[in-house]
Symmetry: D2
Subunit: 230 residues, 4 copies
């Protein structure tokens, strides 16, 4: 079960972004701006940054999350986003004396397969322990562990990258587990920065159409729109 906790973040993230943004077109410095901006002015500035695509000031606010209960399948996808910082639990240095793993809902839904799935994963973990006891180093024994194995990590991302990653990973065509992860990331951001949190959404909401081969149904694809118009 994905667990996400915001353990640290740039205080007053929206105001920090807005003050930085104003520096580019203002004769006044940032220290002064931070204090003077009203929340209304902050919201208006963030609106304008996003609608005009001037996204770099959004980098001045960062968010650090503790993430647990995701599979290695998903963490492998996650760390492909390079504009972020990750520190992940190592399967080389940590011998897993306790073992948790993810079961996809499509498998849970089929009783007989589900039983085999648990059996197979348990067998793999039992062999992992047996190898550790026989002196195989953890870094080698782990080769037998399934992609389902849970991992934990700390991730820091700035607001610009969060908007970008959510545009891809809140798309319902993304892997269900990573969708779940970023829904929780969004919920955490919304608590402390509602204006920014509202910008964490699938790309189609910004495009006005679906750019995947097939739509989930929320928006028609570009091809479907072209079809209707003609």
């Amino acid at each position: 079960m994905v667990y996400v906790a915001l353990i640290s973040y740039t205080p007053d993230p929206e105001r920090t972004i807005a003050a930085a943004a104003r520096v580019s077109t203002s004769a006044v410095g940032a220290s002064e701006l931070v204090e003077k901006l009203t929340q209304e002015a902050v919201n208006r500035l963030i609106d304008r940054l996003i609608s005009s695509g001037h996204l770099s000031p959004l980098e001045h606010a960062s968010f650090t999350f503790a993430i647990e209960g995701i599979s290695r399948v998903t963490s492998h996808q996650l760390v492909r986003h390079r504009m972020a910082s990750y520190t992940q639990q190592s399967q080389r240095y940590v011998s897993l004396r306790e073992f948790n793993y993810i079961t996809p809902a499509t498998i849970s839904a089929k009783g007989e397969l589900e039983a085999k799935y648990h059996q197979t994963v348990d067998d793999a973990y039992r062999l992992y322990l047996e190898m550790l006891d026989a002196g195989i180093p953890a870094e080698d024994a782990r080769y037998v562990l399934p992609g389902a194995a849970e991992t934990r990590l700390v991730m820091t991302m700035n607001a610009r990258e969060l908007i970008h990653v959510c545009s891809l990973r809140l798309c319902l065509k993304a892997q269900w587990e990573i969708v779940e992860l970023f829904e929780k990331v969004k919920a955490e951001v919304e608590k402390v920065a509602p204006r920014l949190g509202a910008e964490l959404k699938a790309k189609c909401y910004r495009l006005g159409y679906c750019d995947e081969a097939e739509s989930c149904g929320i928006f028609p694809t570009a091809a479907e729109i072209a079809g209707k118009e003609s």
Copy 2:
């Protein structure tokens, strides 16, 4: 005159880094670690990260600075550091109705040249204003302004990059103005994160020798050391 103010930063930056670092070798999650670590344990962990070169956890703490009173000469160098976020006052959009500029000490030291320097810079600024009044857009009029012209910006850097940049820019062979800038950056970091602040130092302190062609005198060059030994 360089002015640097830390306007925002990851709260409790050293603890955040240490908790993230522990996640990689621990069976416990980050939320728990953040609360349990003593300052002593935090310092020990940061020591170990740096001495072993495991620097990525240092990325989880970011620092946002308001910087004013630096020349465009220096801001051009500064933004070459790409692992950081900058928002700079635009000479395209801001018409400089007030004008400040930097005078290098080597020029101030020579009375006659100094007078010519001020004269020449003032002439350039006067023409800038004349061009604005004649309807030349600010983005073109500024071509006449000298590299000495002051600028202001907001810069966000994480602790890993701060350590890297200071290793280069606190070297006394670096441009004097950027040395001054990062001395003030270091002073600001030291106030809120003394353990990290202590790591902001020229590369020679880490190498034990000077890797420039000629030394400033603090450490001998590698060639000088080799000479002495033979």
Copy 3:
């Protein structure tokens, strides 16, 4: 006058990108794919990458340009694009015994101002030389040089970043000198990679509207479109 020469690039850049892209959905390896893909298949794959926003395979082809005859005003803007590599002529280490500079067309158009502009820039350069002769180091003497001063550099950018940067810098609302620079960059890319070269275009061609505050006239702004529809 901006001069751009493509001095090196990933050979067969479009095929390299297409082969890499196919690896993600294919049971065959990249070495085999590189040889087998027809140019038609290559074009089709690149079309699909771009229309679906799966841009990362475009990073596998890089282009290295020699750039000369741009002002420091423009190089300062240019190096703000951080997903690229730059090596620039240093005003610290190179004493400029020859001096070239840029004159914006809006200034050339006004005879009297133009004369003053040349006078002022020449005066600044004369003082620069005088300071060098008086023993002022080049790194300090340059503070008097104008933003108009020409510089040269080598820039390497991959195809993904070229597409992104051109989307911003071929916009006619961008600074005219950087527009000229990227028009020449585009022309160089077109010679060796016509399919990619065609993708180097202002953002409005992709959006179907102008997201600036005011349009240059090619596409209406989002606000203008909304106005017409209602």
Copy 4:
């Protein structure tokens, strides 16, 4: 078995780097420099860049590798290096009708465990196929596949990052499979750029000591050196 093929690279990579480096301290442009530099001058320039830590010109040469026969355990580590581009075979979109996997030597060395390892991995793959046949999507069925499962990818890295990554991953304390991978990467680079290839080596060769907790024996640790001296 790790397979690495250099499928593309910046032609004449060392000359490209050297010409770019010279631009920073030269009054001549890069196009001219590329033609005039002798291989001896190229080598001398690259020596100086590396010994003085002026590494950014090394970014102008990129290398693109087809990599096959590595485990997902290793690809997960590999993609943590963020200054590079990767396109990896997807387990979401590719149903693995053929299955290869890695067996660590420490396991092969223990006959009985090895048999169990093959059995367990085979069982997992059989269940994977059974799930596919039952209509479970590949993206979910793969949760049962072990970290040992082979993957393939295309990786592009510039020379600066190759030097950095090899300094970490050619250390014999690194995971054996990633050591093997980068030994083959190094061999490929050496064929076309011997001067650069020689710089792909573990960090201890540069430091003169081992900065790991325990040495592999090639160099003593810093603590061991301090001990001997006192």
